[in-house]
């Protein structure tokens, strides 16, 4: 269950139309390392997590990623708000315009549609948490790349905020992995799958 709060996690106030930048940033909405992908990854993985606190963390981070998706969408929306046909053509935004006008549609910067093929929910706590660590790093790299290309502080500030969150989430997933490891035999973490071989895994509160 979720309750919507009518505010952004970080404020977005962009005053200049720039479809070129919108086309780049949209990748963090529907791209391979985007916020939508992140949210669905964590919210899918949580059900079968053997450690209750880890399921709780996946819920919390999955929820924060939804707020990040909203920030990215607000940025794309504001960057294309008063778009003219000339601007769309000049920036190469015309193909997107033909398909979606200025509505939001989850896709990568290179026009690839959003797909669940970009993430995994594997049903093995060590595998999934290791994927989550990598996911946060991949998203950070995308923000690094965006920050190299974009000068406008109105756009940079929210991107810097989102980048910082990837680092914090990485740390938390690392701690979640340690929590999971502490319930397993350190001589061989891979002796069984804690999400499936329930008779071998002593469930901890």
């Amino acid at each position: 269950m979720w309750v919507y709060e009518k505010r952004l996690e970080y404020p977005v106030k962009i005053t200049k139309t720039c479809p070129k930048t919108a086309q780049l940033i949209i990748t963090q909405y529907g791209g391979p390392d985007g916020e939508l992908s992140a949210s669905l990854r964590y919210l899918s993985q949580r059900y079968t997590m053997p450690v209750k606190a880890v399921g709780g963390l996946l819920t919390d981070i999955g929820t924060e990623e939804l707020a990040h998706m909203e920030i990215i969408c607000a940025m794309v929306y504001q960057l294309t708000k008063n778009l003219s046909i000339e601007q769309a053509k000049e920036a190469g935004f015309d193909a997107y315009y033909v398909d979606h006008t200025t509505a939001l549609w989850p896709q990568a910067a290179a026009n690839l549609p959003f797909t669940a093929l970009e993430f995994q929910s594997k049903g093995d706590a060590i595998t999934d948490l290791t994927e989550d660590l990598a996911a946060e790093q991949k998203a950070r790299t995308v923000y690094d790349n965006l920050l190299r290309m974009i000068d406008d502080p109105e756009i940079r500030e929210p991107l810097k905020f989102l980048r910082s969150r990837e680092i914090v989430h990485f740390q938390r997933f690392g701690e979640a992995l340690e929590k999971t490891k502490s319930q397993l035999d350190s001589k061989n973490f891979y002796y069984f799958n804690p999400e499936f071989d329930k008779e071998m895994y002593q469930k901890q509160p």
């Binding site: 309750v3 919507y4 709060e5 009518k6 505010r7 952004l8 996690e9 970080y10 404020p11 977005v12 106030k13 962009i14 005053t15 606190a53 709780g56 963390l57 919390d60 981070i61 924060e64 909203e70 969408c73 607000a74 929306y77 504001q78 708000k81 060590i126 290791t130 660590l133 923000y143 690094d144 920050l147 190299r148 502080p153 109105e154 940079r156 500030e157 929210p158 991107l159 810097k160 905020f161 989102l162 980048r163 910082s164 969150r165 680092i167 914090v168 989430h169 740390q171 938390r172 997933f173 690392g174 701690e175 979640a176 992995l177 340690e178 929590k179 490891k181 502490s182 350190s186 973490f189």
Partner: protein, 144 residues
């Protein structure tokens, strides 16, 4: 915890330390100095007021305060998910959550409700027009 083993990732458990003030934390992106690791091309945003986060009116002021406090709770909440017995963190969470609840109530009374759970705090005029529809749409930004 955090015992080193071959063929698996090891991440050390973060230890509790002094936090950023909530006014700074939102601009930095974390309440934890130990996790503030800026990108050189993104330069450090320490002790700077975000150019996009400045207040314009009284109601923007409360909203900004809520944004800062709300973020403080998000970041502290994630910390508590993996440090559930850290006494100072628990006490601080209770304190900030209380402060946030009060602000949310005041904002609903004076401006508009931020969530459906705030509807009971709206004033009498709320009976004439459904108050949940009031207030700007959050993604409009400066275009309101």
């Amino acid at each position: 915890m955090s015992e080193q083993n071959l063929a698996i990732v090891t991440v050390p458990q973060q230890e509790w330390s002094t936090l950023y003030k909530e006014e700074d934390a939102l601009n930095i992106g974390t309440i934890f100095p130990a996790l503030n690791k800026p990108f050189f091309a993104g330069e450090a945003v320490m002790d700077t007021k975000s150019p996009v986060a400045k207040e314009q009116s009284g109601h923007e002021d409360i909203l900004q305060k809520m944004q800062q406090l709300g973020f403080f709770l998000v970041d502290l909440g994630l910390y508590l998910a993996t440090h559930e017995t850290e006494q100072q963190a628990i006490a601080l969470y209770h304190e900030k959550a209380q402060e946030y609840a009060t602000l949310r109530r005041t904002f609903a009374k004076e401006q508009y409700p931020l969530t459906c759970l705030c509807v009971p705090y709206c004033t009498e005029k709320a009976e004439l027009e459904f108050c949940l529809m009031e207030g700007p749409i959050p993604w409009e930004g400066a275009w309101v």
